[in-house]
Amino acid sequence: MKSTGNDIIALNAIDIQRTNTPAFYSKIITAAEQALYREPEVSALPFPVFVWLLWSVKESVYKYLKRADAGLIFPPTKITIQNITAPRKAPVAGLTNSVWESDRIEEDFYAGEVKFNAHLLYFRSKIDAEFIATAVSPVPGFENVYWGVKKIDNPGQENQSRQAREFVLQKLKLFLLTDDLSIDKTPAGCPIVLKGNEQLTIPVSLSHHDHFVAYSFLLAR
């Protein structure tokens, strides 16, 4: 299956107090996943950040799988994170001109394996002071997976959607050397890339939360 999935969490938009309550996090993460927080390199994260890291991985997996299974309903506790490793080197802090993109700079991420039924995927998450950005891949090396984050001024829903599309199109135009690209959605809500009226076989995932938009796509070059 050729697909991609990503998610973005704006950390200033989460309710820290609520996230810390078992009534909240037990609806997202399993007991086995809660045990991952006891591992030293993971427990350095504030607990609410850990919870939303796992959420962003699960949401990314859901988007990845929904492209082939339009009827799939988001099952957060059935998508299970198997393990998490922390970055070996300190991550690059902040954004450059409001943007971060995976192919611009070599860096380490929070990473691990995640399962849903027979599917095994790999995740990478960039945790910044302001956001958690995640992408998933069927291969641990993330070959041909591009993902990026952009901070926007206006978090209105229409602007978020427009900015996310413009952000990914700007990147795709650099690779495909054409301006005649647009984004549409399947009836199930999966983004597709059009060149004129022709649908390209480039899977794209878009997400937005508060002042952040993000993309991932799979493109063999």
Partner: protein
């Protein structure tokens, strides 16, 4: 509590999470929380917690997974309020 009353109260639960108040006023059992009301998926658990508080019920995560459209939300809330029905 009948389905119409649950629907009416559900609007109050959903209100903080959608900008589209016109769409919210016109919701029906087929309304999708994410596609139609443009609710961010990161708020779905907030909605479940708020619904638990609003109706004084507990929604387990198996049920919570089904709360992606208004009709399913009403089904689950109704089952919890009227367990013998």
């Amino acid at each position: 509590m009948d389905r119409t009353t649950i629907l009416s109260e559900l609007k109050k639960v959903l209100a903080p999470y959608t900008e589209d108040k016109e769409m919210l006023n016109g919701i029906n059992e087929n309304t999708d929380l994410i596609k139609d009301l443009k609710i961010n998926s990161a708020n779905l658990v907030d909605i479940i917690i708020d619904a638990e508080s609003q109706y004084n019920i507990e929604i387990d995560f198996d049920a919570a997974e089904k709360m992606y459209n208004v009709g399913n939300c009403i089904d689950i809330i109704s089952e919890k309020l009227n367990p013998t029905v």
